[in-house]
């Protein structure tokens, strides 16, 4: 297989603790980012509609026009759907622009679909997420059809509001900035 995100570090953020592998039947949701063929045209179009010197300035696209520009090719849709169906994954929904698929499946199916992945649960307070600490792979013939598969590695990012009033109390010697409030 081919690792689409072999460079994605797996870091468990502070405060999250691993509680072990999930049951094989545990439902996981994967987000498949399908390759968009019209990216270069999209880039040129964005330049034109955003540049006041362009005659196209401000002439934005509707969602339907955008879909027509970047929708995945029939070859991409066929290849990806065939791959999913081959693993018994039928519970998928698309978005209006057709370039993402959200699919539900048991963890055991996801692990067969994406060799290398292993789904574990991590908890922080009352919150829990399921992620794979190991990189996933896809069949090489799908590399031209998929950008990445979401829902495996990245943890929800914490917001950081700084409270300067607390900074003096919480700043360690040598640190420049203060306490963080999640």
């Amino acid at each position: 297989g081919l690792a689409l995100e072999g460079d994605q570090p797996f870091r468990v953020p502070p405060g999250w603790a691993a509680t072990g592998r999930v049951d094989p039947g545990h439902d996981v949701q994967l987000t498949l980012a399908l390759r968009q063929p019209g990216r270069e045209r999209l880039a040129r179009l964005v330049d034109a509609v955003s540049d006041p010197r362009s005659p196209r300035y401000g002439r934005y696209l509707s969602l339907e026009q955008l879909r027509d520009l970047i929708r995945p090719s029939p070859a991409t849709l066929t290849a990806v759907l065939k791959w999913l169906q081959g693993h018994g994954v039928g519970s998928c929904r698309s978005v209006s622009t057709l370039d993402f698929l959200e699919c539900h499946m048991p963890a055991s199916t996801a692990e067969r679909l994406l060799p290398g992945a292993e789904f574990h649960r991590y908890v922080k307070g009352r919150r829990s997420v399921v992620r794979s600490p190991l990189p996933y792979t896809i069949p090489e013939e799908l590399a031209e059809h998929l950008d990445f598969v979401g829902g495996l590695h990245r943890f929800p990012a914490e917001r950081k509001v700084v409270s300067r009033a607390w900074a003096k109390k919480e700043t360690e010697p040598g640190q420049h900035h203060g306490g963080r409030m999640g």
Partner: protein, 372 residues
């Protein structure tokens, strides 16, 4: 004299008058929340009662997309909503609440999918969220960047907080340090908002750099044409720069502009809290102003501003420098090592990687953006 930043302090500093409020029913603005950060309508109402008497405003969020929990309100969510509704006063406000309802969902990705699925959206989105660029795969960074291009093609303005770690710091293999850019602020298709403080913290005075203000150069995205001249000027004219090994001078440079980010008052869980700071505060302030400028453009039969950066950088080239208060004092933080000693970049005349072009002078910016 004031005891912290409130809506009236912001509106006064940026020269917003009582007439600078929304009127159109078809204009709207939004902020996005992740990780079960909820706001309470009662906090918004109390905030406006305490701090909103000097300008026309709404006291309720009009639309929540996604799930709003019943737990305690989050400080960050309260901050976003209260301040986007203070500069974008009387404009219909939406909150996108993306808690990641499913255990294996990525909340940020869920928000991107919502944008790709909704045909009718607010024109302006303020998002105070960021990750270290090096914590994300190249495939993910590049695809998310395309998602911002999609938003730009639809005329949406997407604003991201530039981060609260200054230039950031990362130890690379071999033991050396480099600065650490923040994404999505480092995407060339979003507008990144940095932070400033009042020079005198108790008076409405000129602004200086807020040392936490995120900024620098992407290690992934090349410098877009729209900013090349401004950044080149900074790099050639700065009196002091960090060693070039700390940053990629040919990368997308950010932030693009700034607003006050220090010492805000926020009402959360019915309690007014002082001393809230961060570029999480400056981003919705700018978001509300952009929504108000969109409103004036819509009134004149013009299109919404959409992706803001090309026009922002062109304004300066065209001599509209009065559209911003140029912030020229102060530096932001970075690596604590013997070479840079905690100092990243320093602000200077015109664009710089600490405060961008500076902070908005609303009437001048409005005038410039009504006929760019």
């Amino acid at each position: 004299f004031h005891l912290g930043v409130t809506p009236s302090v912001i509106r006064k500093r940026y020269n917003m008058t009582g007439g600078d409020v929304g009127l159109l029913p078809n204009n709207s603005q939004a902020c996005a929340q992740f990780l079960e950060q909820y706001f309470h309508q009662a906090d918004v109402a109390e905030f406006m009662q305490l701090f909103g008497s000097s300008f026309g405003h709404r006291s309720r969020v009009d639309q929540v997309v996604g799930h709003q929990g019943w737990g305690k309100a989050g400080l960050e969510a309260s901050l976003d909503v209260e301040y986007i509704m203070s500069t974008g006063a009387n404009i219909s406000t939406w909150v996108f609440s993306n808690a990641g309802r499913h255990e294996s969902q990525e909340p940020f990705l869920a928000w991107l999918l919502l944008l790709s699925n909704m045909s009718s959206l607010p024109w302006v989105h303020s998002v105070s969220y960021g990750d270290d660029e090096d914590s994300l795969s190249l495939a993910y960074l590049q695809r998310v960047n395309v998602e911002f291009m999609k938003a730009a093609a639809r005329g949406l303005t997407i604003l991201f907080a530039s981060g609260d770690e200054g230039a950031g710091c990362r130890r690379v293999p071999g033991g050396n340090h480099t600065f650490r850019p923040s994404f999505p602020a480092s995407s060339p298709y979003v507008t990144a908002v940095g932070g400033t403080s009042f020079k005198n913290p108790f008076l409405i005075t000129a602004e200086v750099t807020d040392y936490i203000s995120g900024g620098g150069f992407s290690n992934v995205f090349p410098m877009p044409d729209y900013q090349a001249a401004a950044v080149r000027r900074f790099l050639s004219q700065a009196s002091k720069l960090p060693p070039s090994s700390y940053y990629n001078s040919s990368g997308r440079a950010y932030p693009d502009l700034s607003a006050l980010s220090d010492n805000y008052w926020v009402v959360t869980n019915r309690i007014p809290l002082p001393w809230v700071s961060g570029t999480s505060a400056s981003t919705p302030v700018v978001g509300g102003m952009v929504a108000l400028i969109n409103e004036r453009r819509l009134q004149q039969g013009l299109s919404p501003l959409g992706f803001l950066n090309p026009v922002l950088y062109q304004l300066q080239e065209q001599g509209h420098s009065a559209a911003f208060y140029d912030v020229t004092q102060g530096c932001h933080l970075s690596c604590l090592d013997g070479t840079v000693q905690g100092q990243g970049f320093c602000a200077g005349p015109a664009w710089d990687p600490v405060t961008g072009w500076g902070t908005p002078n609303f009437p001048r910016l409005l005038r410039a953006l009504l006929a760019p």
